[in-house]
Amino acid sequence: MFEPRPAPIVPAAASRRRVLVPLPAPAASPAPGRDELWLAAHFPRLPLDALLPGTRQARAAVVTAPDDPRRTVVACNERAARQGIAPGMGLNAALARVPGLRVEEQRPAAEAALLDRLGRWALQYTPAVSLEPPGAVLAEVRGSLGLFGGAMALLRRALAGLSANGLSASLALAPTPRAALWLARAELALTVTRVDALPGIAARLPLACLHWPEDTVATLAGLGIASVAELVRLPRTGFAARFGPRLLDDLDEGFGRRAAPRRRYVVPERFDERFELPAPAEAVALVEPALEHGLARLEAFLRARASGIRVLRVDLLHRARDPTRLSLALARMAGDAAGLRRLLRERLGRCRLEAPVDALRLRSGVLLPLHIRDAGLFERGCSADPEATARLLDLLRARLGHDAVFSVRPVAEHRPERAFRIAEPGLEAGLPVPWPAARPARPLWMLAEPQPLDGWDGTLVTGPERIETGWWDGHDVRRDYYVAMSRAGVRLWIFRERPPGQRWFLHGVFG
């Protein structure tokens, strides 16, 4: 069906892998209606770049999947890759290769924020930008080639801009957005400007660049298919019957046989206004009328857009010094002034004015569509209003600070001090069932640091439980744990360091 046709292929400049060389002027004019040229920027290390900007990646670093007992590596930097670490590896295997490895947990929110910034960056080349989560940005640049001095100059400029920001990217140009993505993911330093040139490069595209489900790729590999060229030679009807029509559409979109309209990236709208005070205010109470006014404006703004916000920044502007900045991060989306006012009052109440306030500035975070929740018909008297939990969280954090309120999660790890982590409070995440507890009991309280026990005269109740592990990452633990009883009758969890240490430490209290 898809006949691979010979097509002009321009090989990469041999010296630098990621510098792309454009085609010489295309011989034939592009097909009517296909007069597009898409720039794809693929960011293979986005999970890492979102957490550690490139300049701070001097050490080998990896990002691991969250809530994964094996803690699979999802991205690693150049230095880690040179030492044999690759995505898909378990964290223990990675630590065994590089003991001093820096480990971060993947944060999808940070990645989305970075991709959003990249979308804004791409708007300098063209208004037709589209995001391809999780790790790519597309831009239609045919109309901008003249302005930037041709495809080559545009690519160079884009690459220079990205690497100046410490981002590792692979760029490609192709006449369809999907083909551009394939080329970028395959990291082939190739540029294709004509649709009829696409089948010619299909032989050089591995299946992995399609980002299809893993089992589909595995099945295809089992059939002896290694490249996209071999894939398109399969009979269409059989392919659709076996793998579904969606994947066939995917291929057709890539080769320009099917239109693939893309959603345009629009810079998110925000609220940002300044409110002058009639006279410099020296007390927090005098700021409130202006704040009231500002919140009413914000509420009207949000209502007109049927939106809510999760982040609100309030700057108290002074005449000759830096503004006092307050920031509210909400657990629940807010769209009404009343809720925000209550939280801001708590926050303002704790705030000391260093200088008179001349004006206020209110800035919202990203606007989010507000969902209207129906009141339940049979809500039980004792069960919580789903919003009550979020409201409580916001209220506690507004007064006590963000870090003073948290939750805990167990981590599958033998070292007691690493067998838990601090987590964002949230009621959804459940325990893996069944939770394995095939080991001696653990105390309900854990001390932040083991405390040395010198001259202690309690009694040992049970033990020892030997914990001897962690030699591979420098946090070596060699201890014998005992349950003991203090003279006051408190059950304690204590340990003795294995030779040569031999000292006793208190590590937990059974509560």
């Binding site: 209220l395 309120v405 982590r421």
Partner: protein, 206 residues
């Protein structure tokens, strides 16, 4: 009239009004339940536990009830709030005990005065299945506010204080003094609305 009353007692009949919380939740210790009016911890009110030292066994005493209160499947999930605990609640041990750590909300206020404020907010919100707060001095007014907040939010409030406050007056519905023994926990019921002072020795907490 009798017929209607009988009909209302039919087990298959579900009434909006009586889906509310029962009055008590069993403590999980038969010897203690027998001494408490209603056979368990009273719900939606203030309960004071006086401790000789943090860690004598107060959590192990409360665990069975916390499990009953927090791990309810059909209701909207709620938190167990730990306010100003002396140490960090240890997630693996909570999980071993059958309490999902995801339902734990730990609050560590910097100032002592924020503890009772946080407790009041947590109680009043109705977002918590139980609220535990470790506090020191608290005057009668503050305690009465907590009791009202507990009633308003329908949340049991466990206030844990040093045994030195044993002599202070308290509006709490239930006041217990705990003492650790070599095997188990001695519980002295100092005050119990609708019940009598009593002593329960060597509760088998594990």
């Amino acid at each position: 009239m009798n017929g209607v009353a009988e009909l209302l007692r039919h087990p298959a009949l579900w009434r909006g009004g009586d889906a509310g919380a029962p009055e008590t939740v069993p403590t999980g210790f038969r010897a203690l339940d027998a001494r408490l009016p209603g056979g368990g911890w009273p719900l939606a009110t203030l309960i004071e536990l006086l401790l000789p030292a943090a860690g004598v066994g107060e959590i192990r005493l409360l665990l069975p009830a916390l499990k009953r209160l927090a791990m309810v499947e059909d209701a909207a999930p709620r938190w167990v709030a730990w306010l100003a605990p002396p140490h960090l609640p240890y997630a693996p041990a909570l999980a071993d005990a059958g309490l999902d750590p995801a339902r734990m909300l730990v609050v560590r206020p910097r100032a002592g005065s924020d503890r009772l404020w946080a407790m009041e907010q947590a109680l009043r919100s109705g977002a918590c299945a139980a609220v535990l707060c470790w506090a020191g001095t608290a005057d009668g007014t503050a305690l009465r506010r907590l009791k009202l907040a507990a009633e308003e939010g329908g949340t049991p409030a466990f206030l844990l204080r040093p045994v030195a406050h044993r002599g202070d007056g308290s509006p709490a519905t239930l006041r217990l003094a705990l003492a650790a023994r070599e095997f188990g926990l001695d519980v002295e019921i100092l005050k119990s609305r609708g019940g009598a002072p009593a002593r329960v020795e060597r509760l088998p907490i594990h």
